[in-house]
């Protein structure tokens, strides 16, 4: 077996690091859009009975019990069949958004069920309407209490965004494959890429911890 040689990988490090931004962009877009969709799903779940609530729950059940990769493939191939041409990058973002919404709706739902029931009555007697109650009272409370779980899911999405490489997106993993195929130093490039994911993940954990402390101080 040949010795490990990192030199061909390290000289291409700036190119590899460029993929970090694509990885962050994919995860951030999918998380932001997924969170917005999750808020809608969870409000529907808590404000409605019957078919709307069942549809919201069914959505989460369906998407949390099937592989995310299948979901991205479905978006990647189905949208063109419907006449909508989207780039691989956008297909991945949409696929990950749909998946994130299902998980985030469950996280927010768990937070909603922990909101003290008296909050709704207090909000009513203070004169807040439903929209104001959600925007000013319920969702900020849920966001604060569920922040660790939400932050954790974002980190999972950063790692999960590696699937974008399968669709030809030049994220961190995509660029790693690219370097590996030209240098034939697959193991070395994957070790370096793994280390970069770990650094990214630790950095995010640190940022989220600071955010959490900030949230606790922010009154």
């Amino acid at each position: 077996m040949n010795r490990l040689d990192f030199h061909p990988v390290l000289v291409r490090l700036p190119y590899l690091l460029g993929g970090v931004w694509i990885t962050i962009l994919i995860a951030a877009l999918a998380f932001g859009l997924g969170l917005s969709l999750a808020v809608l799903l969870v409000v529907v779940r808590f404000e409605n009975r019957g078919v709307w609530r069942r549809m919201s729950r069914g959505y989460s059940t369906a998407l949390t019990n099937t592989p995310q990769l299948s979901q991205i493939f479905a978006v990647f191939y189905c949208l063109p069949l419907m006449g909508v041409m989207v780039s691989p990058f956008l297909s991945v973002v949409i696929g990950m958004t749909l998946n994130a919404a299902a998980y985030l709706a469950d996280i927010l739902g768990a937070g909603m069920s922990r909101v003290p029931s008296v909050y709704h009555e207090v909000a009513l007697t203070l004169g807040l309407n439903r929209r104001q109650t959600y925007l000013r009272v319920i969702l900020p409370h849920v966001g604060r209490t569920m922040f660790p779980a939400l932050a954790n899911h974002f980190q999972i999405m950063i790692l999960g965004s590696a699937m974008a490489s399968i669709f030809g997106v030049e994220d961190l993993t995509g660029r790693a494959y690219d370097i590996g195929s030209t240098t034939f130093r697959i193991l070395e490039v994957m070790l370096v890429t793994g280390a970069l994911y770990a650094v990214l993940s630790f950095a995010l954990a640190g940022i989220f911890m600071l955010c959490r402390r900030g949230l606790e101080r922010m009154v």
Partner: protein
């Protein structure tokens, strides 16, 4: 015509009749206390007065304006004139004390932040909480939370203030301060209705006392030293003056319940 005239309130939970033909009156600036054993419907009655409880029948006249409490939409009318302090306080845990106080005035009443914050600081000062404005509710003691909840209700400038056990979490000195505040508010024309087990406070603070039993009014009487003139009320207050929640000791007066001097 009384300022507040509540008549024929009926509330049903399934087959159980929680309130039956309940009625009472109050003049502007009076303090009315609901007393009675647990499960007698005191809190339910308080909730009907602010439209949180659906009622089968009942009407309420406030300052000559009649509200049919069983009609849809009546809750909004009731809430427009009243504020309530819940027994569990219901302070929003993710907001500072100051934001808890200014939320409704700025978001609902559209008052400016500066004006609302000025009023909130004044109220907090009056309630001995001047240094707690930027604190989260979780960092407050039970008594402090209770006073913040009262301050939040007062920020709505209600004509009718409803209080569910307003002194239950307070130490004797704070009971005196809150009672004194309630008296001042009543003197300024606010009508106050409270549910309380603190017989000493009820006796000294109330202009009227309503004794509820099994969902109906057992007796109507007067406070401020006259509680003993209504036998049922005097008997109830005597038997409950040893209650650790009552805020009064049994040996304070010949009637058993002590009437604190504020």
């Amino acid at each position: 015509m009384p300022y507040i005239d509540v008549r024929d309130v009926c509330v049903r939970h399934g087959k159980t009749e929680t309130l039956r033909d309940v009625g009472f009156t109050a003049e502007r600036g009076e303090i009315v206390s609901f007393i009675g054993p647990s499960g007698s419907g005191k809190t339910t009655l308080l909730r009907t007065l602010i439209g949180l409880q659906s009622v089968e029948c009942g009407r309420m006249t406030v300052d000559g304006r009649m509200v049919n409490m069983s009609e849809p939409g009546s809750a909004k009318v009731l809430r427009a004139q009243a504020a309530i302090v819940f027994q569990q306080f219901g302070l929003f845990g993710h907001m500072s004390v100051l934001r808890n106080l200014t939320l409704a005035p700025t978001v609902v009443a559209k008052r400016t932040h500066r004006e609302a914050e000025h009023e909130a600081h004044e109220l907090l000062e009056k309630l001995g909480l001047a240094d707690k404005a930027n604190v989260l509710p979780d960092d407050l003691s039970g008594g402090q939370k209770q006073r913040v909840a009262i301050a939040r209700a007062l920020m709505l400038r209600p004509a009718l203030l409803l209080l569910d056990e307003p002194t239950s979490a307070l130490d004797p000195r704070k009971v005196q301060e809150v009672s004194s505040l309630l008296r001042d508010l009543a003197r300024d024309g606010m009508t106050i209705i409270q549910v309380s087990h603190a017989m000493g406070v009820v006796a000294s603070l109330s202009d009227r006392i309503v004794l509820l039993e099994a969902g109906h009014v057992r007796a109507l009487g007067h406070g401020r030293g006259q509680a003993s003139q209504t036998p049922d009320i005097a008997a109830f207050m005597n038997t409950h003056s040893d209650d650790p929640e009552s805020g009064a000791s049994a040996g304070g007066s010949p009637q058993g319940f002590r009437e604190p001097q504020f």
